[in-house]
C-alpha cells in the first residue's frame, strides 16, 4: 500500500504504469469511453434538437415552467438518478425484464439522464443569445424552418459546443450513479471513476493517480477535438 503523502512519487508511478500499456487499464479506459460517448451521443441527438426548438420558439406557452424544469434537471443529484435507474431496472421494477441492471447499458442510461438536461438547457440558452432578427432574415432569403434552425445553431456554435463539452464532462466524471447501477464489476462495468474510488480505498494511490491522469487526458482530448470542430466554418446544406 502507498502512503497518501507521496503525491509526486505517485504521479511518477502513474506515468510508468500508463506507459506500460497495462491490459486491465486499457479495458477500463475503453469501457469508460464506450459508456460516456454512448451517453453523450444519445444526449446530443435528443438534447440538441429539443434545445434548438425551445431556444427558437420564443413564444412558447409556459416557457418559464419549461425553463425551470430544465434547469432543475441540470442540477439532478447523480446518486438520486442512480437510485431511480436502479429501482427502474431492478427485478421488481417496471423495466426489470430488460435485465440491464449491473450492465453497461444501465450505466449509459443513467449518464444519459444526467446529460440530456445539460445539452437541452445550454443549447437553449446559446440560441436565446442569437439575435432574434436572424431567423426572419434567413427566412427572407428562402431558408426553410429546418435551415433556419441549423444556421442559427451554427451561429451559436460556441455555446452549443459548451453544452456538449459540459455533458461529456458530466458523463465521464460521474461516479455515484454508475456505481449504483453498474456495480463496479471488474472486467464488466468498472470505469475510470469507479476504479479510482476503489483503488483509493485500497490505498493504491499510484494506480488511482494513473487513472485520474487518464481521465483528465481523455476529457482534454475530446474538448480539444470539439473546439477544433467548432472552428470549422461551413454553410448550411440545402434540404
Amino acid at each position: 500500500m502507498d502512503t497518501p503523502g507521496t503525491l509526486g512519487a505517485a504521479l511518477l508511478d502513474a506515468v510508468i504504469l500508463l506507459a506500460s500499456g497495462d491490459a486491465a487499464l486499457l479495458a477500463v479506459l475503453g469501457r469508460t469511453l464506450e459508456v460516456s460517448l454512448a451517453a453523450l451521443g444519445i444526449a446530443t441527438a435528443v438534447g440538441l434538437p429539443t434545445g434548438a426548438v425551445l431556444g427558437l420558439a420564443r413564444g412558447l406557452p409556459a416557457r418559464g415552467t419549461v425553463r425551470a424544469l430544465i434547469y432543475t434537471g441540470m442540477g439532478l443529484p447523480p446518486v438520486v438518478v442512480g437510485l431511480f435507474v436502479y429501482l427502474l431496472l431492478s427485478r421488481a421494477g417496471p423495466l426489470g425484464d430488460l435485465g440491464w441492471l449491473f450492465s453497461v447499458k444501465a450505466m449509459v442510461l443513467a449518464q444519459t439522464i444526467l446529460s440530456v438536461p445539460l445539452v437541452v438547457g445550454l443549447t437553449m440558452a446559446a440560441l436565446e443569445g442569437v439575435d432574434p432578427e436572424l431567423g426572419p432574415q434567413l427566412a427572407a432569403l428562402g431558408a426553410t424552418p429546418v435551415q433556419v434552425a441549423r444556421t442559427t445553431l451554427r451561429e451559436a456554435r460556441s455555446g452549443v459546443l459548451a453544452a456538449i463539452a459540459a455533458a461529456f464532462g458530466a458523463a465521464i466524471s460521474e461516479v455515484g450513479a454508475v456505481m449504483l447501477v453498474g456495480g463496479n464489476i471488474e472486467g464488466q462495468t468498472r470505469v475510470l471513476t469507479t476504479a479510482i474510488l476503489l483503488e483509493t480505498r485500497r490505498g493504491q494511490f499510484s494506480l488511482a493517480c494513473a487513472l485520474g491522469l487518464l481521465l483528465l487526458a481523455l476529457t482534454f482530448t475530446l474538448n480539444f477535438v470539439l473546439l477544433r470542430a467548432g472552428e470549422r466554418r461551413t454553410l448550411p446544406r440545402a434540404d
Binding site: 439575435d131 427566412a139 427572407a140 454553410l235 448550411p236 446544406r237
Partner: protein, 244 residues
C-alpha cells in the same frame, strides 16, 4: 398589353396588441415596377414589406401573388422568388463571400457553382478585396452592400428594400442605387422600396405611395405624386412640412 400584377392586396389589416398598424383596402403592385413607400416612422411601411415577404400574415384580408390567390400558401420555390434587404442586415459570423453565397447555398447550389456569381457581385459592389474577411468586421456601408449582394445572387423576381440606405454615406448610397438601377435594366425585377428619403424615392421610383398611420393616403406615378399630389398630406410630406 395589360400590366401584369405582382401583388394584389385586398382588405389587408395587421393588428399588434389590439392596435391596427396596417389597414389597406386595396393595392396593386405591378410586375417590374419600382414602388417607393414613403411615410413617417411607425406608419406601417416595414410591416407591409414583412407581409409581402410572407414573414408575417395579415390578420384579415388577403395578398395575392401573380396567379396565386394567397401569398401564405405559395410553394417554396415560388416563395423563394421574393426576398428582402433589411435596414440592419444580420450577417453570419463567416466570410463575406460565404455570406453572399448564403441564398444560393440555401437553394442547394454547390460551393463551386456559386463562386463565379459571388465573385461577380463582390466585384460590382466594390467588395472583392474583402471576400475572405469576416463579415461582422465590415463597416455599415460594406455590410449593406453584402446584404444587397446576397439578395441579388439568386436572381429574385421581387426585391423588397427596407430603408437600405438609411445611415449610409453618399458614396454607399450611390453604389447601392446604381446597382439596383443596373439590375432593373438587366431584367424584369419588381422592387418595393421603403424609404424616409423623398429624394431617393423621386430618383428611383416609377410610382410612390404615402402611408400614414397604417393607411394608404395616395399612390401615383412619381412625377405626378411629387408635382401635383391629390392629397394635401402628400404635399406636406414631400415638401418636408409634415410634422409627426
Amino acid at each position: 398589353m395589360p400590366t401584369e400584377i405582382e401583388f394584389a392586396l385586398e382588405d389587408v389589416r395587421r393588428v399588434y396588441a389590439g392596435r391596427t398598424v396596417l389597414d389597406i383596402p386595396a393595392l396593386e403592385i405591378r410586375r417590374g415596377e419600382l414602388l417607393a413607400l414613403v411615410g413617417p416612422s411607425g406608419s406601417g411601411k416595414s410591416t407591409l414589406l414583412r407581409l409581402l415577404n410572407g414573414l408575417e400574415k395579415p390578420d384579415t384580408g388577403r395578398i395575392g401573388f401573380r396567379q396565386q390567390p394567397d401569398l401564405g400558401a405559395l410553394p417554396l420555390a415560388t416563395r423563394r422568388q421574393i426576398t428582402t434587404v433589411f435596414q440592419h442586415p444580420r450577417l453570419l459570423d463567416r466570410s463575406v463571400e460565404e455570406n453572399v453565397a448564403l441564398g444560393l447555398r440555401i437553394r442547394g447550389v454547390g460551393r463551386a457553382t456559386a463562386r463565379p456569381r459571388v465573385r461577380e457581385l463582390l466585384d460590382e459592389l466594390g467588395l472583392a478585396a474583402h471576400a475572405r474577411a469576416p463579415a461582422p468586421r465590415l463597416s455599415a456601408g460594406e455590410r449593406q452592400r453584402v446584404a444587397l449582394a446576397r439578395s441579388l445572387a439568386f436572381d429574385p423576381a421581387v426585391l423588397l428594400l427596407d430603408e437600405p440606405t438609411a445611415n449610409l454615406d453618399p458614396h454607399n448610397v450611390s453604389l447601392l442605387e446604381e446597382r439596383i438601377r443596373r439590375e432593373r435594366a438587366r431584367r424584369p425585377l419588381t422592387v418595393v422600396l421603403v424609404t424616409h428619403n423623398v429624394f431617393q424615392a423621386r430618383r428611383l421610383a416609377d410610382r410612390c405611395a404615402l402611408l400614414l398611420g397604417g393607411k394608404l393616403v395616395e399612390v401615383g406615378e412619381t412625377q405626378r405624386f411629387f408635382e401635383t399630389p391629390l392629397d394635401a398630406r402628400v404635399t406636406a410630406f414631400v415638401r418636408g412640412e409634415m410634422v409627426w
